[in-house]
Structures are given as structure tokens and as C-alpha cells.
């Protein structure tokens, strides 16, 4: 034990003398852990919210009965079914406002709630007071994040915008964010929907699902299996996978720093290790001490990284939550609540990452001969051979990427291909740099120029990890930036086509739709009323958005159709054909002319695919069919709406009048400019987290370069001092060192442009298609590359300036110490 402790003390003493190196090590792992765990915190938070939403009343698995089109579900129906022995439970759902916050109010009856729904909601939890819930004033159950969002404490009584007062709040961690749970009778009062119910939950028992409904109710009710929340998890998987991929990239870039710092520390301590071995410390003890040192440092860096990651996640959460709500309608709690396993997983990742980054040095330490002088040059020559090996490995990874892209399918495979492509490029970088430096060496004239390039060749190994990090970060920035800007350009054009009407109205129910029609026909400025009906259905066991329209020239002239049969819209008008979205066409391998069958009602609906249109930003499959044909087949009520054509200047007045005359609020009536504005806002927020992670990754690469150079300059004096002795000034040498690093970084930056473009192509042509089902055209943005190149160059200049300025400023005494033979 004593040799181990003494060895560890001797090893740790190195860091006291090299604090910058220690800082590089810790900062590298801290940033890597922070970016990775930050992303995981965002994903965990979102998934936990989906789970709570899915878990409430058993979500996906919970069978339920709902009213057919034109029918209303009431307490009477519930009573009738209960009297007939049906295990049904009433549920009413509606939207309420508390201050500026819009919330979902859900009314339940805990006594009749099916067991599986009770298990998923709060009502079977220890401490749940049934009597308090049922008797006045009752209880309002809400998730802790909802209370935090509202800024209230348990026991508080919320006042709704309508003026009504809610019962005292109680915390129930299983209630999803933005949801309030009360007794169903109370909910009817608060929502001003007396005796009304949204649905009847039925025990998940196959006996009842095959049982015929009482005759008088069979025509009023139909079975529905609520699956939207389960689908939500599936739909959002691609979003989270994208974030995970970015987090992983940042983690890898951070590990480059750790690897570089560990390698240098090993090189500098190789004579110490030999001395320890010569003093009787066994090889095993040396490796154990090194391992312990790595774990100790990783523990500290990991904990700091977790704290930083938590802060980062808290900072990005509002934007991610807005993206998820805008894209998928998913509500994610606005405040981070992380379980111990997140901390443990983050720490585990940090420790594993540190071990991975240090494994090479540990291996070298295990094989270090006791005898033999430490020969830096020999080590460098070994590194040169390593450059060749890395290039070969990189080439192999590119072949693997090609194979995965050509033969594989699925998002995970696509990301694996992308990872192989990026890592392959990074591994080829030292080889490419060596080739470029070799050309410089051949072209060099004069002793200083020859030395300049000869040193550059030797420095490729020392700087390669930092340059790889720079290459990856910059390529990711260019690639993702090109994809986002291409998407933005396409999306804006697509909005122009898709939002052809000047005003949009959405009815809450059939009654309101009728009121709207009556009102609309009396508005003289309206040139055309285009009714629409919206329904969520399923196709091949996946959610499908069905949009019913009455074919009009507006659709013929503007709808973003990519390909269609001749007279495609006329075919849709017959009720026997449909336009389908690109993602639906790709997902189910459908082309114009193909047929598909929808199982909306008892009779299957056979439809021909009349055309395919772009539907960016929507992860669900979508289909446009004839409205009348849809209404005739739909079991449940359609969400009705109207697209209105009129002179654009008249739109704001019409919207204002509609709000006033019909008492409409929010998105019930909205003009084109507002929809466009909202869509563009959602678009921009969607990429806020991506942009932030990208910028941070570039920052990490900058830190990698800075730390590599700081550690490198510490070992550069012995190489530079002889030149100083031969008559080159220290300032001249510092400039040459700076120029050399800039040359290497500049070449890396130039290589990052084609790699970034390749990455952008993979994102739009492979990843997007796999993740979302649509393919974007790739546009080139040279000014964006110039901006990023400028930013990377600035990062490089800043990262190189300080250590080399320090080098130039070191006193002559420090330089001349190199020649002191007592050293």
C-alpha cells in the first residue's frame, strides 16, 4: 500500500508544477460532461413529461368511449352504463387560464376510476385523501413543476380568468405539467359545461371491449383507444436523438482535450515513471496509481461538469420545451427536476470518458521499459507511424459509413454512418496535414523556412487531437448551419404556398362552426370560403392527420405539391383520391397512382394517391381528402375550420370583427401574417438549442486548441532555445511558432468546409428523411462559411496568441536555463 501512496504522491506533484496542464485536463472533461449531461437532462425532463402524460389514466392502453359526430356525452350516459354494469368512469377535459398561463383542467371520479388508470394517476398514491378530494372545498392536484410555473405553494387557491376559485392545491408528482386534476362535478362547474363529459374511461378488460353497447347508446358512442401520448414518445424520439448526437459530438470533442493533456503528462513523466520503477515500484503499482489518479481527477471534473450541465440544461429548457410544444404539441415541464440516476449516469459517463481518453497512456505506462533513455524524438517518430495508422483507420471508417448509408436503414444506423464519417475524417486529418506540410517542406527555401516546415511536421502529432476537435466542431457548425439555413429558406417558401388564404378560422365544435358559416356569408369582402375538417386517425398503426377540403383553385394554384397525377385535385374532389404528405409517401412507400385503404368506419375507404405534397415541420403523416367524403365516413366529430380568401388589406378588420361578433379568442380566428409569424417563431426556437450546442462545441474546440498550445509551448523551449542561441530573436521565434500553428489550423479550417458540406448533405438527404420523413433541397451559403471560418480563425488566433505571447515574454533567464548542464 505504501509504494502505491508514495507513487501517487509523486505523480500528483507533477500537476502542482503544471497547473495549466491540470486545468486543461479538468476543463476538457468538465466541458465534455457538461454538454453531454446537459443534453441528457433535457431529454430526461422531456421524456419524464411524456411518461406522465401517457401514464395519466393509462394513456395508450386505456380504452374509452366517446360521443359520435353531433352527439354529446352526458352524465346520463355514464349513469345508464354504470347501471348496466359497465366499469366506466367519467372524465371531462377543458382549457382554463390562470393569469397568463393556459392550463388543462381535467375532472375525474376517483371512486369509479379503472384500477390501471388509478395506478397511473395520483389517486392511489399514499397520502391521497379521497374524502378531501370529493368533499367541498375539494382538492386540486397538480405536478410540482406546475406549481413552480405558477409560482404558488401547496394549499394555495388559484383563481381562474373566469373568476372562479379552484380548491386548494395539493402536489401529485404523477400529474403531467400544465394539468390540474379536480373532481369531475367541480370541473363541470368550472368549465361551465354542466352534465357534460369528454369521454368515459373503461376498464382495460377485453370482455368489455367485445361487449355490445346498449342499443340506444350504440349510435351515440364509439370506441376510441387514446394513443396520442404513446405516439408522442415515438415521434419525439428523432428530436431527442438529434440532441443526443450533438451532445455526443461535444463529448467526443471534450475527450480530445483530456486525451491530449493525459498524453503530454505521460510524456513529461516518463522519466519519473522509470525512476519509480528503478526504485522498486512494480509496473502494476505504477499503472494502479495512474488509474487512481485519472479516476480522482475525473471525479472532480465530472462533478463540476454535472453542475455546469445542469445550468446549461436549465438555460436551454425553455427553448427546447417551446420546440417540442410547437413541433409535437408536447408539454414539457419548464423547471428541471432530475433524479439521482441522472447524476450517477453523468458521473459514470465522465469516469468512462476519462478512462477512454487515458487508456493509451495507461497502456504505454504498462509497457514502459525500466531501462532506456526517454527519447522524445523516438516517441515522435513513433507518432509519425501512428499518423499512417490513423489515416488507414479513418479510411476504413469512411468505407463503413458508405456501407451503412447504402445498405442500412433507420435513424440509428444513419447516425452511426454519420459518426463513422466524421470520426473517419478526423482520423485522416493528421495524415492530410503531414502531406500538406511535406509540400511546404519541399517548397521551402532558406534555413529558417526549412526548419519551420520540419518542425511543423513534428508538431502535427502533438497538435493533431486539438486540430481534430477543431475540424469536427467547425464541420458540425457548417453542416448543421447549412441544413438549418436550407431548411429556413425552404420553409419560408413553403409557408408562402401553404398559407395561401388570408384568414383562418377554427371552430370548437359543430355548433360554433354553424355560427361561423352564418356570420361569414354576411361578410361582403370575403371572396371565397374554403371549409376544412380535421381528424386524427390511424394508418398502418401510425397516427394520421386527415384534412378534408373542398377543392378550389386556391389549392390548385398554391398547395406545395411535389408530384401528382394529371387532374390530381379533380380526383381528390371525387372523394376517391387523396393528396398525401411527403413523409407519408416515404414512410409507407407510396407514389402517385398507388392505392391505400383507410379504416375509418365499418366500411374501408379505398383511395388513390393523386399527388404528394411537402409538409415540413410536421412529424405526423398527413393526407388531404374531399371534406364531404370524410364527413360521411368519420365516426367522431371533425374539427372544423374555414380558410377565407379576401383582399389582404381587409384581413385585419375581418379578424377583429370576427373576434368581436363571435366572441372568438386566440387562434380561433387568425390572419395569415400571424400564422406565418407564429410558424417562423416556432422554427427559430426549434433550432435555438441546436445552435447553442453547436456554438459551445466550437468553443470547446477552441479550448482544446488553447490547452494543447499551452501545454505544447511548455515543452517547446528546448527546441527553440538553440535557434535563439544561433541568432534568431525570441520575438521572431514566437512569431514563427504562431504562424506555424495558424498554418496547421488554417489548413484544418479549409478542410472543414467540404466536410461540413458533406455533413449537411447527409443531414438533409439521409438523417432528415429517416428522422422526419422529408427531404430538403440543399442550398449553399458561402457567406455563412466565411462567417464561420472567420469565427474559427478568430478562435484559433485567440487560442494561439496567449501561449505564444507568453513564450515571447519569457525572460532570457528562462530561455538560457535550457543550456544549463546542471538541469
Amino acid at each position: 500500500m505504501r509504494p502505491l501512496v508514495q507513487t501517487l504522491r509523486a505523480l500528483l506533484a507533477h500537476w502542482r508544477r503544471h497547473p495549466v496542464q491540470l486545468a486543461a485536463w479538468v476543463v476538457g472533461l468538465m466541458l465534455a460532461t457538461a454538454l453531454w449531461s446537459g443534453v441528457q437532462a433535457l431529454n430526461t425532463q422531456a421524456r419524464e413529461s411524456y411518461d406522465r402524460a401517457a401514464g395519466l389514466f393509462a394513456g395508450a392502453a386505456q380504452p374509452m368511449l366517446v360521443a359520435r359526430e353531433g352527439e354529446t356525452l352526458t352524465d346520463d350516459v355514464f349513469a345508464t352504463l354504470r347501471q348496466a354494469g359497465w366499469p366506466v368512469s367519467p372524465l371531462l377535459e377543458g382549457r382554463v387560464r390562470v393569469g397568463e398561463q393556459a392550463l388543462t383542467l381535467v375532472g375525474i371520479d376517483p371512486v369509479t376510476l379503472p384500477a390501471e388508470a388509478a395506478a397511473a394517476s395520483a389517486v392511489d398514491q399514499t397520502g391521497f385523501e379521497l374524502a378531501a378530494f370529493l368533499t367541498r372545498p375539494g382538492l386540486t392536484l397538480a405536478g410540482p413543476d406546475t406549481l413552480q410555473q405558477l409560482g404558488v405553494e401547496p394549499g394555495a387557491e388559484l383563481r381562474l380568468a373566469s373568476g372562479a376559485l379552484l380548491p386548494p392545491l395539493a402536489v401529485a408528482s404523477t400529474v403531467p405539467p400544465g394539468t390540474l386534476l379536480v373532481d369531475v362535478g367541480l370541473a363541470q362547474q368550472l368549465l361551465q359545461r354542466p352534465s357534460e363529459l369528454s369521454r368515459l374511461l373503461v376498464a382495460d378488460d377485453p370482455r368489455w371491449q367485445t361487449q355490445a353497447l346498449p342499443e340506444d347508446l350504440a349510435e351515440r358512442l364509439y370506441w376510441q383507444h387514446g394513443q396520442s401520448e404513446d405516439d408522442l414518445t415515438r415521434l419525439t424520439d428523432s428530436f431527442h436523438l438529434n440532441l443526443t448526437a450533438l451532445g455526443l459530438l461535444a463529448f467526443v470533442v471534450g475527450l480530445f482535450i483530456v486525451n491530449g493533456a493525459t498524453g503530454l503528462a505521460f510524456e513529461q513523466r516518463s522519466s519519473l515513471l522509470r525512476t519509480l520503477r528503478a526504485c522498486g515500484v512494480s509496473g502494476r503499482q505504477v499503472v494502479l496509481a495512474l488509474l487512481f489518479e485519472v479516476l480522482l481527477l475525473a471525479l472532480v471534473a465530472g462533478l463540476l461538469g454535472l453542475l455546469l450541465g445542469y445550468g446549461l440544461a436549465a438555460l436551454l429548457l425553455p427553448d427546447v420545451a417551446a420546440s417540442l410544444q410547437g413541433l409535437y404539441g408536447a408539454r414539457v415541464a419548464g423547471a428541471l427536476q432530475l433524479e439521482p440516476r441522472w447524476w450517477l449516469a453523468g458521473l459514470g459517463m465522465s469516469l468512462c470518458g476519462a478512462l477512454l481518453a487515458a487508456v493509451g497512456s495507461l497502456w504505454q505506462a504498462a509497457r514502459l521499459p525500466v531501462l532506456g533513455l526517454a527519447r522524445r524524438e523516438a516517441w515522435r517518430a513513433h507518432q509519425q507511424r501512428g499518423v499512417m495508422l490513423l489515416a488507414l483507420l479513418g479510411g476504413g471508417l469512411w468505407l463503413l459509413a458508405l456501407g451503412l448509408f447504402m445498405a442500412g436503414s433507420g435513424l440509428v444506423v444513419a447516425f452511426a454512418g454519420l459518426a463513422a464519417l466524421l470520426l473517419g475524417a478526423a482520423l485522416c486529418l493528421p495524415g492530410l496535414l503531414s502531406v500538406a506540410v511535406g509540400i511546404g517542406q519541399r517548397l521551402a527555401r532558406g534555413p529558417v523556412a526549412e526548419w519551420f516546415w520540419a518542425e511543423a511536421r513534428q508538431q502535427v502529432s502533438a497538435l493533431s487531437l486539438a486540430l481534430m476537435a477543431l475540424l469536427l466542431a467547425l464541420a458540425a457548425n457548417i453542416g448543421v448551419g447549412s441544413m438549418v439555413d436550407s431548411f429556413r429558406l425552404t420553409f419560408t417558401g413553403w409557408l408562402d404556398q401553404r398559407l395561401a388564404a388570408e384568414v383562418y378560422m377554427n371552430a370548437e365544435d359543430a355548433e360554433q362552426a354553424e355560427q361561423m358559416v352564418e356570420w361569414l356569408v354576411g361578410q361582403p369582402e370575403i371572396e371565397a370560403i374554403l371549409p376544412t375538417g380535421h381528424l386524427i386517425s390511424r394508418y398502418a398503426d401510425e397516427p394520421l392527420e386527415l384534412n378534408g377540403i373542398r377543392v378550389h383553385d386556391t389549392y390548385r394554384d398554391h398547395w406545395p405539391v411535389q408530384q401528382q397525377l394529371a387532374d390530381g385535385w379533380d380526383r381528390v374532389g371525387t372523394g376517391q383520391a387523396a393528396m398525401i404528405s411527403e413523409q407519408m409517401a416515404r414512410r409507407f412507400d407510396l407514389a402517385p397512382g398507388d392505392s391505400l385503404t383507410l379504416g375509418l368506419a365499418a366500411t374501408p375507404w379505398l383511395l388513390q394517391v393523386a399527388g404528394i405534397y411537402a409538409d415540413y415541420g410536421n412529424p405526423r403523416a398527413q393526407m388531404v381528402v374531399d371534406l364531404d367524403a370524410l364527413m360521411a365516413r368519420a365516426e367522431g366529430p371533425l374539427r372544423q375550420g374555414f380558410s377565407l380568401r379576401l383582399h389582404p388589406d381587409a384581413a385585419p378588420q375581418l379578424v377583429e370583427r370576427a373576434r368581436r361578433d363571435l366572441g372568438l379568442e386566440g387562434t380561433a380566428v387568425i390572419d395569415q401574417a400571424s400564422v406565418r409569424n407564429f410558424s417562423e417563431q416556432v422554427f427559430e426556437r426549434t433550432f435555438v438549442a441546436t445552435g447553442a450546442l453547436n456554438t459551445l462545441t466550437l468553443g470547446v474546440a477552441g479550448v482544446a486548441l488553447l490547452t494543447s498550445l499551452l501545454t505544447l509551448t511548455q515543452s517547446r523551449l528546448p527546441q527553440l532555445a538553440p535557434l535563439w542561441a544561433q541568432g534568431l530573436s525570441r520575438r521572431h521565434l514566437a512569431w514563427l511558432e504562431w504562424l506555424r500553428t495558424l498554418c496547421l489550423a488554417g489548413f484544418t479550417i479549409l478542410l472543414a468546409v467540404p466536410l461540413g458540406l458533406l455533413l449537411a448533405w447527409c443531414l438533409v438527404a439521409i438523417i432528415n428523411v429517416e428522422a422526419f420523413g422529408w427531404r430538403l433541397p440543399l442550398y449553399l451559403f458561402p457567406e455563412q462559411w466565411l462567417r464561420l471560418i472567420g469565427l474559427a480563425a478568430l478562435t484559433t488566433v485567440l487560442a494561439t496568441a496567449w501561449p505564444l505571447w507568453r513564450l515571447g515574454r519569457q525572460s532570457p533567464a528562462t530561455w538560457s536555463k535550457v543550456f544549463a548542464h546542471e538541469q
Binding site: 522524445r376 534555413p447 526549412e450 541568432g727 538560457s816 543550456f819 548542464h821
Partner: protein
């Protein structure tokens, strides 16, 4: 060629300034050789560094070839080393990234006095003919020091400063290298100031001075 007048130098220590050199004065004419001996830490190397302009004096003057070294800017002192002074170190200090051939020619090319015929002759006399394409790491210590000597002499410096040039070599190799070194220095007509621990080696030079507790004692 070399005039050192009343030069003093001290280094800061936690216990206060440590005087390493105190009012040192000496002269060395062109073509003469001088050995500077002394214990470890007596300030021999420090004096050499001050002469080469690698460090600055606290007081006094150093002149090389009529040019004042002390009080000059770093760039001026570097020019002086490039054109007038040649340095040979115990640690060889070759440029590891360059071949032996490039190392040999380096300083001569740097000061614009590269004469291929002279270098070829020097290379032959130093016995480095077959090693020109090798890298320093592939040479023995004696071979490396011969390259360092060749590099210095190829530039035809007027003053050669050598700091324990054979200190890293065994006695036989050290003697052989020193023989070669002194022959070549004499042939070049340059002045030589050599720092050494060894009284035996010092005796082979024209003049000897001894440094003790920061003060100079003449022995010849």
C-alpha cells in the same frame, strides 16, 4: 575580440539576491583560447550566457568584436550571435527536426556565409560524411557533439563560446572530440572561451581562469 569589464550578476532568491558574478573583467584576443574553470554554481555558464547576450548584466560591459553586447535590444544581440559568435553546448542542442546535413549548414545559411566547399571539407574532417541524411536522434553522443561543432565552425564565427563541450561524453570520446575541436578552432583563427570543470582539459588551452565565489582568478 572579447572584452569583459566589471561585470556583475545576481539572481533573486527567496532569501534575497544571490550574487553569482562580482566585478569580473577579462580580455581575449582573436586567435587565443581561454579556459574558464570553477565549481558547479560558480557562475561559469552565467558568464558565458552574458557574453553571448543570452542574459543581461546587472552592471559592467561586455564587448565582442568591438560591439557592445550589454544594454542592447534582444534583436541586436541575436544579430550579433548570428554573425559573430558561435555557441557549443554540453547538451549539443541540435535541431531534432532537421537532418545532420541541414543542421551542419543551418547557422552558416542563417548568417549568409554558407560555403558548400568549406562545409564539405569540415564534414569530412569531422568524420560526418556518411551521416548527413540521418536525424540527430540516430547519432551517438560523440557524433552529435561533432555535428554541433561543425555547425558552429561552418558559420566562421570570430568568437566561439563552448560550455562543457565534452561534458556529456566519456573521457576517450571527449578527448577525441576536443582534439578535433581545438584543431579546427585554431585553423579558423577564432577566439575560444571554453567553460569546463576539468583542470586537465583546461590545461590544453592557451589561458586559464578560475571562477570562485563570483570572483575571477587568473592562472596563466
Amino acid at each position: 575580440m572579447l572584452e569583459i569589464y566589471q561585470v556583475s550578476k545576481s539572481f533573486p532568491t527567496p532569501q534575497g539576491p544571490l550574487a553569482v558574478l562580482q566585478s569580473i573583467s577579462l580580455n581575449l584576443a582573436a586567435g587565443n583560447t581561454l579556459a574558464l574553470t570553477g565549481e558547479s554554481g560558480s557562475g561559469k555558464s552565467t558568464l558565458l550566457h552574458l557574453v553571448a547576450g543570452l542574459d543581461s548584466v546587472d552592471a559592467g560591459t561586455v564587448r565582442v568584436g568591438g560591439e557592445t553586447v550589454t544594454g542592447r535590444a534582444d534583436a541586436d544581440r541575436a544579430r550579433l550571435r548570428r554573425t559573430t559568435i558561435g555557441l557549443v553546448f554540453q547538451q549539443f542542442n541540435l535541431l531534432p527536426s532537421l537532418t545532420v546535413g541541414a543542421n551542419l549548414a543551418f547557422q552558416a545559411r542563417l548568417c549568409g556565409r554558407h560555403e558548400p566547399a568549406h562545409l564539405a571539407d569540415l564534414t569530412r574532417r569531422l568524420g560526418l560524411d556518411g551521416l548527413l541524411d540521418r536525424y540527430p536522434e540516430q547519432l551517438s553522443g560523440g557524433q552529435q557533439q561533432r555535428v554541433a561543432i561543425g555547425r558552429t565552425l561552418a558559420a566562421r564565427p570570430q568568437l566561439i563560446l563552448a560550455d562543457e563541450p565534452t561534458g556529456n561524453l566519456d573521457e576517450a570520446t571527449g578527448d577525441a572530440v576536443l582534439d578535433l575541436f581545438l584543431d579546427e578552432v585554431r585553423a579558423s583563427g577564432a577566439a575560444l572561451l571554453m567553460v569546463t570543470h576539468s583542470e586537465r582539459l583546461a590545461a590544453r588551452l592557451g589561458h586559464q581562469h578560475h571562477l570562485s565565489q563570483g570572483r575571477l582568478e587568473s592562472r596563466s
